[in-house]
């Protein structure tokens, strides 16, 4: 047998062995027989000494080629085994991803809180701060400072819940120490008074919060509900500034198609006073049952801060002017989500709460 034949035979036998290996283990066991000095091809290297000098290069090349072929065959088979093993392993890990147990574990904010935060965010974006104050208030902050002295007929607009604090009910407030009634605030306007008392203008703030009225609960009234009011006091503030600010808010909160308008109204704490309407969000102004075919929905009240209110807070009404506005948060949430009955928001049934 020529040296070339021997090489060819050794190559063929090695590759044959490789191809017969059934798994990674037997392939690994073959490796000493395929590579290294003990392998058949390795053994043939010793023949190099016996080869004619002239043939040495050719034989060497044949030997190298045979070795490369064996390595190639080994690598191919090894790769195949790795891939097969990996596939088998992964198959054992197969999951049905729809077999999820239990529901989501994320909680939910109350719809009123969500609405309140959205409103706050819009006003913060417009340059306002957010102010807060107590829910139990003195008559002074809730009424008198707002140009609503005790005998004012417009007080009947507010069905007020008063607190029984025993003897303390008669303790004076900050206003000259006169006896005062303590009540649950009927609007967040007392916060406006507190802000004006303690901060010099300019003031750009909103006052969101819980308010109370002596109202029997029905589909559109609750004795406890939520409001947001806004207050701007600055040099040269006018009624057009109020209209513009409410317009900007309306577009930011409801979206571009919804506009706002002002209609004359009456509130003791503002003059001129206005009602603040927005385009009906249901029909977008076409006219529907919700808006009684007017295309508009009444959202809240507003106006230029009454000079008496400014002077009650120590602000010179000749130098500073301002506007205030307010509207209900609960009703806004109701409108946005098509909730028919306000009471549903306060049953605390998780089947309601988890929808938002």
């Amino acid at each position: 047998m020529s040296v070339y034949e021997q090489i060819a035979q050794a190559r063929a036998s090695a590759i044959g062995e490789i191809e017969q290996a059934g798994d990674m283990e037997s392939l690994t066991a073959l490796e000493p027989m395929l590579f290294g000095k003990k392998s058949t091809l390795g053994g043939l290297k010793r023949l190099m000494g016996e080869v004619d000098a002239a043939d040495k290069a050719d034989v060497g090349q044949a030997l190298n080629q045979a070795q490369t072929d064996v390595r190639q065959a080994h690598a191919t088979v090894k790769e195949r085994f790795i891939a097969e093993n990996r596939r088998a392993q992964l198959e054992t890990e197969r999951l049905d991803l729809t077999e999820s147990l239990g529901g989501s574990n994320r909680g939910h904010l109350h719809l009123v809180t969500q609405t309140m935060e959205r409103l706050e965010d819009v006003f913060v974006g417009m340059g306002f701060t957010v102010s807060e104050g107590p829910q139990a208030e003195t008559d002074w902050y809730n009424f008198e400072a707002l140009n609503l002295p005790a005998a004012h007929p417009a007080r009947s607009m507010f069905d007020t819940l008063y607190l029984d604090l025993g003897e303390r009910t008669e303790i004076g407030d900050g206003d000259g120490g006169e006896a005062t009634n303590i009540l649950l605030r009927t609007h967040t306007s007392p916060v406006q008074i507190r802000v004006m008392e303690s901060n010099p203008p300019p003031i750009y703030t909103v006052c969101p919060g819980r308010v109370f009225r002596r109202d029997t609960a029905d589909a559109s009234h609750m004795p406890v509900f939520h409001q947001i009011e806004g207050l701007v006091i600055d040099h040269g503030i006018s009624l057009t500034d109020l209209a513009g600010t409410l317009n900007e808010f309306t577009a930011a909160y409801f979206g571009g198609a919804i506009r706002s308008r002002l209609r004359p109204s009456y509130f003791p704490f503002t003059e001129p006073s206005a009602e603040f309407d927005i385009t009906c969000v249901i029909c977008e102004g076409e006219g529907c049952q919700t808006c009684q075919r007017t295309g508009w929905i009444e959202l809240g009240g507003c106006g230029m801060v009454h000079p008496n209110v400014l002077s009650n807070c120590g602000i010179d009404s000749e130098e500073w002017t301002g506007f205030a506005f307010g509207f209900g948060i609960d009703r806004l949430a109701l409108m946005r989500h098509g909730i028919k009955d306000l009471r549903d928001m306060y049953t605390n049934d998780v089947r309601f709460l988890e929808q938002f």
Partner: protein, 792 residues
């Protein structure tokens, strides 16, 4: 206030599309709640009831022969029984589409043919009466279209919302004045003075006003030759459409004048007023009067009274007349009263007695004393018109008054108008806007200033700012334009407000749902929840006793909410709330009760450990360290599963489980975990700790040491933890309790607590010897300071 186009047109030539007119009225501050173009009622005609017969097969309906053409009656089945033969009625012929959309067809009822429908006022949308068929007055043309015959073709009815500052707009004339100014058409109150023949000589009545403050003006007139009957249909229709019930000719005229001019008035049967003498005084406490509605009313001092010559009450001023002098079918002589009243007094009295009437609504806003004489003339004019033989006036109009208030002129600056309204107004523009609504405008030496006199029918308008509103109102709020002012500062939430939002986010991140229970409690709700609060804040005027206490804790509300969910098969609910709680204050400088914001969570089907876990989440999220002190018998909590929560040394809340006895009361049959914290305290701590300086991460390897101790049940795990923390010193990187183990093999009264301690130095690798030293220090510290031994 409702107004009818045809009525408005008696004061001003108002024309236009009904809906555009509605927009004008809304834009003038008289918000239109409904615009109703009256249905022409095509097919509804005047018909005569020819005969009435029982239906042979039915008791509840009868057969009516109705004549639309003379002598050609058609048979109709009808469910009403208020008709008599000869009556005129509205009749819907076959093919008529009724206002509600129903089409009238020939049909059979129990075997009898019905060829149309006899109509009630409600069915025609001409009133609220749907019990009987509308009986029309005699004299109408049988067969003629109904609306033609009653003069309402093409009429429009608007329902307006009138603000309390607009007494003038509580009348047809007042609305017409405002609308005429907007439309730039003339407005006039007609002259009714010459309508009735000259008064006869006579002195049949006298007036004595004791309290001029209560009654600034009292005007009266004696009328004889009155015959009380039905008022004409056109008057009845107008009253009905404006929401008042026709009663009799005298009362109807009285109401008609009130609606038309905004001047409430009252009529007395003169023969029932001894010597025609009427007095006005304030009531004394406890005085009583029988009012027109047959009720006995008890009065308080301050209430206004009309009295007879013996000073006995015969009417409550401005609110309701008395029964003793009521107009009746036999009344022949009438004393007409037109008085002005102090509005606060009327408001107080009518509110207290629950007697809000059309009259009191107008007096509360303030009526126009200047109109008294016009109103008397209008009353006489109308009553004369509708009385077949005419009426007789006797004597002069009695008019008692002191010095009547004349409004002072107000200085109005153009510059101030422009500043307030955001648009430049000239003197001419201001004059042109104010004069048509009755204001008097007079120029001054200054180009910027004019003197504006407010008319008597606008008592609300007193100052320059009030006049700015009138200028804006008639110029049109929407025509002023818009501008947007800019705050000189950036808008932002405060750190407190942001932290409160973070707290809520942590709660919902832990799977909790935010609830908003009622903050009002029933008196026994506090003890039902296991709490004992000595003086919870009470409402002075609650709507119901179930809502008479202001919550001292969030616990009762959340328990009720979880109970509600359990009763609706929503088990395992996890609720939280942030909200104000109230308590009696000890602070003598404030008159307000204590009020602070609490965060509370109620986790049903969970044990105390879940609440502690939630507290951990909160502490981790806010970087606040909470300390727990196991405490027995916290109010409302499981007696052996509760702890107080402290930040540093300050107690800020409690955590644990709800007392099973309490849960039973709310019908919750699962364990419930509870967490309750003062929000202001957490926020304060969170903000204080928010600027933690960075500590570089050590690059040296760390070593772990695990230690398990047998610890007496009386020793808190947190105490061991604190000891370990102190003993491990600066090299302590992390300390966790990772196993708690109780078993029979452990001594009674103790448990095994296993801690894992990770040690790491900032500047070197800790050697085995050093780690061993720290380990030993930890063991010794725990064993010497607590009833605890290392588990081998």
């Amino acid at each position: 206030m409702k107004v009818l186009l045809s009525w408005l047109r008696e004061f001003a030539p108002i024309e236009g599309d009904p809906y555009e007119l509605a927009d004008h009225m809304s834009d003038l501050g008289m918000a239109v709640e409904e615009t109703r173009v009256l249905d022409p009622l095509n097919g509804v005609v005047v018909a005569r009831v020819a005969s009435l017969r029982p239906h042979p097969e039915a008791d509840r309906i009868q057969l009516v022969d109705v004549e639309v053409e003379p002598n050609n009656p058609v048979q109709v089945c009808c469910g009403a029984f208020n008709m008599s033969e000869g009556d005129l009625i509205p009749f819907a012929t076959i093919g008529t589409v009724m206002p509600d959309g129903m089409e009238i067809a020939q049909r059979k009822m129990r075997g009898e043919v019905s060829n149309g429908m006899c109509c009630s006022a409600a069915e025609l949308n001409l009133g609220s009466d749907h019990d009987g068929i509308m009986i029309l007055p005699q004299g109408l043309t049988v067969g003629a279209p109904l609306m033609d015959q009653i003069g309402l073709v093409g009429d429009v009815l608007w329902d307006l919302e009138i603000n309390p500052n607009r007494p003038d707009a509580m009348s047809v004339a007042g609305v017409a004045r405002d609308l005429a100014a907007r439309l730039d058409v003339p407005f006039e109150i007609p002259d009714w003075s010459e309508s009735v023949s000259e008064p006869l000589e006579g002195d049949l009545a006298s007036i004595n006003v004791e309290d001029g403050e209560l009654c600034p003006r009292f005007t009266a007139r004696v009328i004889r030759g009155v015959s009380v009957g039905e008022s004409p249909l056109w008057m009845q229709m107008r009253l009905t459409l404006l929401g008042m019930r026709p009663i009799n000719s005298v009362v109807d005229v009285s109401n008609y004048v009130m609606l038309e001019l905004g001047t409430p008035n009252h009529t007395y049967d003169l023969s029932l007023v001894p010597n025609g003498h009427i007095g006005v005084r304030r009531a004394t406490d406890g005085e009583t009067i029988l009012t027109l509605d047959g009720q006995e009313r008890t009065l308080l001092s301050g209430d206004g009274l009309i009295v007879n010559e013996d000073s006995e009450p015969i009417g409550i001023a401005g609110v309701m007349g008395g029964a003793t002098t009521e107009i009746s079918a036999s009344t022949e002589a009438v004393l007409l009263e037109l008085a002005s009243w102090e509005s606060e007094s009327i408001a107080r009295t009518s509110q207290r007695l629950g007697l809000r009437s059309e009259a009191s609504a107008r007096f509360e806003r303030g009526t126009d004393w200047k109109l008294n004489i016009n109103a008397v003339q209008r009353f006489c004019y109308l009553l004369n018109e509708i009385t077949p033989d005419g009426i007789e006036l006797v004597g002069e109009v009695l008019d008692v008054h002191g010095a009547l208030p004349e409004n002072e002129a107000v200085s109005v600056r153009n510059s101030r108008m422009s500043l307030l309204l955001g648009r430049d107004f000239t003197s001419t523009e201001i004059r042109d806007l104010l004069v048509p609504i009755g204001f008097d405008v007079e120029a001054t030496d200054s180009e910027d200033v004019q003197l504006v006199t407010v008319p008597s029918f606008r008592p609300d308008t007193e100052t320059e700012t009030d006049i700015a509103e009138e200028v804006a109102r008639h110029y049109g709020y929407s025509s002023l334009g818009t501008t947007v002012p800019r705050s000189p500062d950036a808008g932002r939430l405060t750190a407190e407000q942001k932290t409160r939002r973070t707290i809520r986010q942590i709660m919902i991140g832990s799977g909790l749902v935010e609830a908003m229970p009622n903050p009002f409690l029933a008196p026994d709700d506090v003890s039902k929840a296991g709490l004992s609060v000595e003086n919870p804040v009470q409402l002075l005027n609650p709507l119901a006793v179930e809502e008479s206490v202001l919550r001292p804790s969030l616990l009762p509300g959340l328990l009720t909410s979880v109970g509600y969910n359990y009763s609706h098969r929503n088990r395992g609910v996890r609720l939280f709330e942030t909200g104000a709680v109230f308590g009696a204050s000890n602070d003598s400088t404030s008159s307000l009760p204590d009020e602070y914001e609490q965060l509370a969570a109620l986790l049903s089907d969970s044990d105390a450990a879940s609440a502690v876990g939630l507290l951990r989440e909160l502490g981790d999220g806010l970087k606040v360290e909470f300390r727990l002190i196991n405490t027995d018998d916290l109010p409302g909590l499981h007696p052996t599963r509760g702890a107080r929560i402290c930040i540093g040394e300050v107690e800020i809340g409690s955590v644990g489980e709800i007392d099973p006895v309490v849960l039973e009361r709310y019908e919750i049959d699962d364990r419930c975990a509870w967490l309750d914290l003062r929000v202001d305290q957490i926020i304060q701590a969170a903000i204080a700790d928010s600027d933690v300086p960075y500590e570089p991460v050590s690059t040296f390897p760390s070593s772990d040491v695990d230690l398990a101790f047998l610890v007496d049940e009386g020793v808190q795990a947190s105490a061991i933890e604190l000891t370990l923390r102190n003993a491990a010193g600066d090299e302590l990187q992390d300390l966790q309790l990772f196993d708690v183990f109780r078993s029979d093999q452990i001594d009674q009264g103790s448990r095994s607590l296993a801690f894992s301690i990770r040690l790491q130095a900032k500047d070197r690798t800790l050697g085995e010897e050093e780690v061993g030293g720290i380990r030993q220090r930890c063991i010794e510290a725990v064993e010497t300071s607590h009833k605890a031994t290392l588990r081998s």
